[in-house]
Amino acid sequence: MLDRKIRVLIAKPGLDGHDRGAKVVARALRDAGMEVIYTGLRQTPEQIAEAALQEDVDVVGLSLLSGAHGTLFPKVVSLLREKGLECLVIGGGVIPQADIPALKEAGVAEIFTPGTPTSAAVEFIKTHVRV
């Protein structure tokens, strides 16, 4: 095991302005010892993939509450893979259970829905990322 902190990019794809959840998760991951970069609002999938490359992150966390997850999450994953990035991709927001299988199919490792404690995201990242 290398003595390096897990690096996480928290990103808000699309036009949705609700970032309370994104910021709370970012803080919690930081408190759990990870290095966290937050992109801010209104990022295109291209901008997010580029930021993930530049920042050399292990995890990309996507947050979306507008209902556009079905379009935007898979797009981010495929752009990351095009760039040769194998980082873990997780998502959160107002996402109906019925949409989750398709998102996982597209390469999103886990979806955290409202009411999930931040510790669940911390645990998930720690068990799925090796640094």
């Binding site: 309370r20 910021k23 966290v36 937050y38 801010g40 609002l41 209902g67 379009t71 107002v94 259970q97």
Partner: protein, 556 residues
Amino acid sequence: MTDKESLEGIAQAKEAWEQGMVKKLTSRFPERSPEFSTISGLGVDRLYIPAETDYLNELGFPGQYPFTRGVQPTMYRGRFWTMRQYAGFATAEESNQRYKYLLEQGQTGLSVAFDLPTQIGYDSDHPLAEGEVGKVGVAIDSLEDMEILFDGIPLDRVSTSMTINAPAAVLLAMYIAVAEKQGVPSEKLSGTIQNDILKEYAARGTYIFPPQPSMRLITDTFEYCAKHLPDWNTISISGYHIREAGSTAVQEVAFTLSDGIAYVEVAIKAGLDVDTFAPRLSFFFNSHLDFMEEIAKFRAARRLWARIMKERFGAKDPKSMMLRFHTQTGGSTLTAQQPYNNVVRVALQALAAVLGGTQSLHTNSYDEALALPTEESVRIALRTQQIIAYESGVADTIDPLGGSYFLEDLTNRIERQAMEYIEKVDALGGAPAAIEQGYIQREIQESAYRYQKAVESGERVVVGVNRFTAEEAPPRDLLRVDPAVGELQGRKLASLRARRDQAAVEAALAELKSVAEGNGNTMPAILKAVRAYATLGEICGVLRQVFGEYRPDISL
């Protein structure tokens, strides 16, 4: 009121009661917690007793300064609050059907939700609109969509609230133009545009332009409406989203009123007399979980605003001092787990709003932590308001909890603490400067994080989430927006662009550009462009060219 001597007597008797009976009992049976506090962290004592009150100056009478007990002399004995459900999704055609349904069900005002591309001034065929068209509200690209949205709804007989901020002037112009086609003059229109850009930078995120030109657009609408739409609420200064972003009740009041102060200052600076525009300012608050704290919050906000308008801005017209507000129950308090529990949460929050004297109310639907609400869930939400209005009896006397020792104490404390926050914001140079420095955002984020930690530690119980959980089947019957809406809007746009008088559109946009570059009021030029069927994206595109776009500093 009780005189000073007897107040002292009561306080002494209370002390004796605490030291005697209470102490004896709690030594054997301790209370549930060593300390109690509201959800926002205000301390809550075991028992409240009568306190010294200057009734006429602090409470007064409904309809009279400082309006603590209500803004109208008869309140709901005259007329109930406006039951106004925020709605809109997919296309103008589908939203029009939902509005007609709600009006048939006894709703008394409309409230339009726009999709994100509309709120950010992009047409549905803009690349950034991909996946977002029609999702969180209705997609409006041009006057043509707006005509469909209000088809068959007489605009002189409904009041319409539009949740639109950065491009508020454009959507208001479209509404005026639809009314013209119905033969309704603008003087007869009543409704509200949210038009509150400061909270977009601080909490909600649908900004377009930098603060200065944004404030100018707002002042332009104040001035235009004072002349042409006397019954229109030109702004809805919103604490709702500040609270949703995680603030406390005190912060909600303080930051909202600080924003209000900023709008008043900029309008006065532009040469408007305070009493010409202040009566049309309106407010929008959250009704959250802590029942008594929320009622106190509404009362405190009313008293505080009245004093600010009178003492700080020298308003003379009592209408300028009245804080009239819309309320929405707290969206972020809804849980995805055991969603039917949300019906009860919403009922309590709605009751608090009514006991706090709201002018209009939106009740959330129980399924909104999962998706947009269905017709059925919206109906239950509306029925909740009707039960409070027609069955509970609380609407039959004004401010029924006024005089509660606890409520009056909380009202005083919220007012005092909010004032301290407003003074801090003033010291930073006012709300726009405090937002630019990230102060307001950081304060909100701190509160949000503290609350999340309290929930995760179990210190705050959320029924069905961190206590009393149950295995449950995934919910059925959620509303889904057809993904083809984006393509459909794109086709409508292409067809419009082919049909309209292109020369008229270009002339109107050129005129708008030159007005925006100068100092004149932008509203007439926007109205002209709208009437020529210039699209929202084209109009905002011109303004983007002239004003530039806002780029926030990100702080965590």
